[in-house]
């Protein structure tokens, strides 16, 4: 059986187990799903829905993170060819990482890693 067929099989087993949990719960639970309750606000009632545009203060960091993620996409195959390609592979990859680290340092000095 190929690897990904086994993955599908494992996924099917996982979903079956989850469904079994829900099934057991529907039989065994002391009461059916409760009527909608308000969110927990220390006993208060909600003034508005919580579905809102959440102000993410660390969004500049996500841009830097994306740059690194794109680099990681290249690092995975790089590990496979490292020993055959030789020193040039190491030099290129770590120079690239150095450039990215310089960008991270700049972001750090600009305060993208601190918020509030």
């Amino acid at each position: 059986m190929s690897g990904f067929a086994a993955a599908l099989l494992l996924l099917a087993v996982a979903v079956t187990l989850v469904a079994a949990c829900y099934g057991v719960s529907s039989v065994v639970a002391v009461a059916p799903t409760a009527a909608p309750a308000g969110p927990f606000l220390s006993g208060g009632e909600p003034a508005e829905h919580a579905f809102s545009r959440f102000h993410v203060r660390w969004y500049p960091l996500t841009m830097v993170y994306l740059a690194f993620e794109m680099e990681m996409l290249f690092m995975y195959p790089w590990t496979l060819v490292l020993s055959s390609v030789g020193p040039s592979a190491v030099i290129e990859m770590f120079l690239f990482l150095g450039v990215l680290l310089a960008g991270v340092t700049y972001a750090w000095r600009e305060g993208a890693l601190r918020w509030t």
Binding site: F4, V13, V18, P39, F40, H49, F51, T79, L97
Partner: protein, 309 residues
């Protein structure tokens, strides 16, 4: 020598469940000791069953105008992703599938936890759970890159992305000996990805349970159980990656795997109770300016060694 054994598909969930029960037992024993009330093993071992029973008979809840589809999808994704990540986890000499890109598969499956926790935080239309969900995304930005570098370091030393190949490459010397930085960073990131211990801000007490604030009944069981399952899988993966898999004298491979996994899990669970919760606004600098350069340096050292070999 790790071989693929599809029949493990049925045994693997059972063994992971046993490990999860062990984690809950150990955690309860530590909590009882801290409360000045040391309890017997039997009492601690009954805790996971009591919790599971309590949650199975518990009533499920929904909240005002909750996004039911996304909410339940998030809750379900966490245990399913954890189990899927265990596809390449070798128990001794056999894993369910020894994919040629096993490391990448593991990484991809545990990243699904980001979506799971955020969805679980978004779904119930509650301010506290929303904040908890976003906290996990921020935490992900901090731990994921050091985690990936640690994985890359192990893969580089073995020259392959196949978990079986990484185990074989440690036949002479375990990786933890000559890449300790990667090992420590991997353990920290394993705790962070399961939002355990010092990294439990997404489900923190000061946030009324954070992303799990509005969960009850079997949903809570699946979400928090999935979290512990992810911790088990991530900690267990440290064994083939850094601790030589099933290698060792005298005992059979599967027993060595079990012992090493138990040791790593005990260390991670203990670590969880030892420190206060780390806030990302303080930790992010440390993660990006200390951990990432350290892991890059570690990777450089390892790749130089590989070249010289």
């Amino acid at each position: 020598m790790v071989e693929a054994a599809p029949w493990l598909v049925l045994v693997l969930p059972a063994m992971l469940a046993v490990a999860t029960i062990g984690v809950v037992t150990f955690d309860a024993a530590l909590a009882a000791r801290a409360a000045g009330r040391p309890e017997s093993l039997a009492v601690s071992a009954s805790v996971p069953f009591r919790e599971a029973a309590r949650l199975l008979v518990g009533q499920r809840r929904t909240t005002l105008a909750a996004d039911g589809v996304l909410w339940r999808a998030g809750v379900i994704t966490l245990p399913v992703a954890a189990l899927s990540a265990a596809l390449v986890l070798p128990l001794g000499t056999a894993s369910v599938a020894d994919l040629a890109v096993g490391v990448v598969w593991f990484n991809a499956m545990e990243i699904l936890a980001w979506a799971a926790v955020w969805l679980a935080g978004w779904g119930p239309n509650s301010a506290f759970s929303l904040v908890g969900g976003y906290r996990f995304v921020a935490q992900g930005l901090a731990y994921e890159l050091p985690h990936m570098f640690a994985l890359i370091t192990a893969a580089t030393a073995a020259g392959t992305l196949r978990i079986g190949g990484i185990v074989e490459a440690q036949a002479d010397l375990w990786f933890v000996v000559w890449m300790p930085v990667a090992f420590v960073v991997y353990l920290l990131s394993a705790a962070a990805m399961a939002f355990w211990g010092p990294f439990d801000a997404p489900v923190g007490r000061e946030l009324a349970g954070g992303a799990a604030a509005e969960l009850s009944g079997v949903d809570r069981l699946l979400f928090l159980g999935g979290r512990r399952l992810l911790l088990v899988v991530a900690a267990a993966m440290a064994v083939p990656l850094f601790l030589g898999g099933g290698g060792g004298p005298l005992l059979p491979a599967w027993l060595w795997t079990l012992l090493k996994t138990a040791a790593v899990l005990a260390a991670v669970v203990w670590l969880g109770r030892r420190f206060p919760t780390v806030r990302m606004e303080r930790f992010m600098e440390v993660a990006w300016m200390v951990l990432i350069p350290l892991t890059i340096l570690q990777a450089l050292v390892v790749s130089l060694v590989v070249l010289v070999r």
